[in-house]
């Protein structure tokens, strides 16, 4: 149910054309005076209210302007601190910052992918996948419905905060459904995994509309 509303053909097709880079390539980045990229919040391709009634505008706005922005702000901060620590050869600090980078950087990557995965119905949002993606889904999961069931089950079973992913294993050449905790990007589950579709199952992604359902 959730997956059906979220898949878009356009962006996924481009990924299967062997665009090896994740969809986050479009992330806007300014340049810091010290040569360090400063990340900025990417715009959505649609209005906040454009996904109603599936996801309401209030959630989209909060999610985008508050949560995602916070990850970006903290990511920039952590990167700056890391640059300082490395320059000063401060190993304990460098290592300590890894957690903040994984969390905030992961949050930024994941949400950037997330916005691209969604589209208003009039632009094709919610339509079942066709072409090579549809074929791949049928091969690896049996049917689109089976995939939806699997994704739903994994998402519901996830304890606490995390993401459910439909990913491509580049080496084994197969689709997989995986979950990651907190803001861990999919690549933390395997270096050859490429995210195709991510569903944010942090409570902030749905609480105001769905409560704990």
């Amino acid at each position: 149910m959730a997956a059906r509303a979220l898949l878009t053909r356009k962006t996924l097709a481009s990924v299967l054309r062997n665009d090896a880079k994740p969809l986050g390539v479009g992330i806007a980045a300014a340049t810091h005076s010290r040569g360090l990229h400063v990340y900025t919040l990417p715009d959505l391709d649609y209005d906040y209210g454009a996904l109603e009634p599936a996801i309401n505008g209030e959630i989209m706005q909060l999610h985008h302007q508050k949560h995602h922005q916070t990850y970006i702000t903290n990511y920039n901060k952590a990167l700056e601190q890391l640059q300082d620590a490395v320059a000063k050869a401060d190993s304990p600090a460098s290592v300590k910052l890894q957690a903040a980078i994984k969390f905030n950087g992961g949050g930024h990557i994941n949400h950037s992918i997330f916005w691209k995965n969604l589209a208003p119905v009039r632009e094709g949002g919610g339509e079942p996948p066709k072409g090579s993606l549809g074929w791949a889904i049928d091969t690896h999961f049996g049917s689109f419905e089976a995939l939806i069931q699997k994704v739903n089950a994994e998402g519901a079973a996830l304890q606490g905060s995390g993401w459910v992913w439909l990913g491509l294993d580049k080496e084994l050449k197969r689709l997989v459904v995986e979950t990651t905790a907190n803001q861990d990007p999919l690549v933390t589950k395997g270096p050859s995994l490429v995210p195709l579709l991510g569903i944010d199952v942090w409570e902030h992604a749905y609480y105001l509309q769905f409560s704990n359902v």
């Binding site: 909060l62 508050k66 949560h67 916070t70 957690a99 969390f103 304890q159 606490g160 905060s161 995390g162 905790a181 907190n182 803001q183 942090w202 409570e203 902030h204 609480y207 105001l208 409560s211 704990n212």
Partner: protein, 310 residues
């Protein structure tokens, strides 16, 4: 006399004096314990009498709207009525027919933690326990400062009440993702296997602030006695505070914390520690006579020097 029932109470809002009682250990599966608890609350139960080892969803010790305007009734209705209830219901179906069925909730949590390799029941058991503990950590008109022994210990172990507040709020705000922040009383054991602190004294027991992810709580670590918790899963504050977790934490400390509950938990923890120490002492004394028999080969001035009790 057998007011037993396996279904959770029909009344969802009623005031109970148990807010000021020392929170009992959650031995829901004990038959007599259940009766005692129920008598205090004067609940009218369903007529059907059924003896069951299952856990029951207890309501918070105050009506669901009693924490307004800080924590809304809507939040309590979802948080307690849906989330907490789901944990309890799912736990009951998970332990059905297993040997966890006969254990208390605390025991279930520790057993299913399984040294970090969680058994399936862990998440539900721990979350059920955590939420009971959480409701009892708050009260209407709460907040302010602690007093007595608790305040003395806080000042001793953190420097000042303000420094403790700072540390607690920071822990709660920096727990990535879902989790809990705790004030706990730690015994003076070394955290290394069975190492014993040879110079243990009352000074070595101390209050600490810790944070845990998802469902984990300090019960699963040896020698930690939880005293206070705040739920920082997003579902705990999203309806009332949206993204503003730090605001929720501040207001929780300012206006919701039940220092009475924390103090009485401290007393309970101290009593338990003393029990444990007495047990350990007793065991040591029982083993002593064997090893303290003087070696007949050793000459000494006086027999009293060898094997004397200290």
């Amino acid at each position: 006399m057998n007011w037993l029932s396996s279904s959770s109470t029909a009344a969802s809002t009623f005031l109970s004096p148990s807010a000021l009682l020392p929170p009992p250990t959650h031995g829901f599966s004990s038959v007599t314990f259940k009766v005692w608890k129920k008598k205090n609350r004067c609940i009218r139960k369903a007529r059907r009498i059924e003896i069951s080892a299952k856990f029951v969803l207890e309501p918070p010790p105050y009506p669901l709207n009693a924490l307004e305007p800080i924590m809304s009734q809507e939040t309590l209705e979802y948080h307690w009525g849906k989330h907490h209830r789901t944990y309890v219901d799912n736990l009951n179906s998970q332990i059905d027919g297993t040997d966890l069925e006969e254990k208390s909730l605390e025991d279930t949590v520790v057993i299913s933690y399984n040294k970090g390799d969680f058994l399936p029941a862990f998440n539900n058991a721990a979350q059920a326990w955590n939420h009971d503990f959480f409701w009892e950590s708050m009260k209407p008109g709460g907040g302010g400062k602690p007093s007595g022994d608790l305040l003395k210990l806080i000042e001793r172990d953190f420097g000042s009440f303000e420094k403790f507040l700072d540390e607690f709020k920071t822990a709660a705000a920096t727990q990535f993702g879902s989790g809990w922040a705790w004030l706990a009383y730690k015994e003076s054991k070394l955290d290394v296997g069975n190492a014993v602190n040879p110079l243990s004294s009352d000074e070595d027991k101390k209050l600490v602030v810790v944070k845990t992810p998802n469902a984990v709580n300090p019960l699963v670590w040896n020698y930690y006695h939880p005293l206070l918790t705040i739920d920082v899963w997003e579902h705990a504050y999203y309806i009332d505070f949206e993204t503003r977790r730090p605001d929720y934490i501040s207001v929780f400390m300012d206006k919701l914390v039940s220092w009475d509950a924390v103090s009485s938990r401290l007393e309970q923890a101290k009593a338990r520690m003393m029990e444990r120490e007495k047990e350990a002492e007793r065991k040591k004394r029982e083993e002593k006579p064997r090893s303290s028999e003087p070696n007949p080969e050793i000459y000494s001035d006086s027999d009293a020097e060898l094997g004397a009790d200290e």
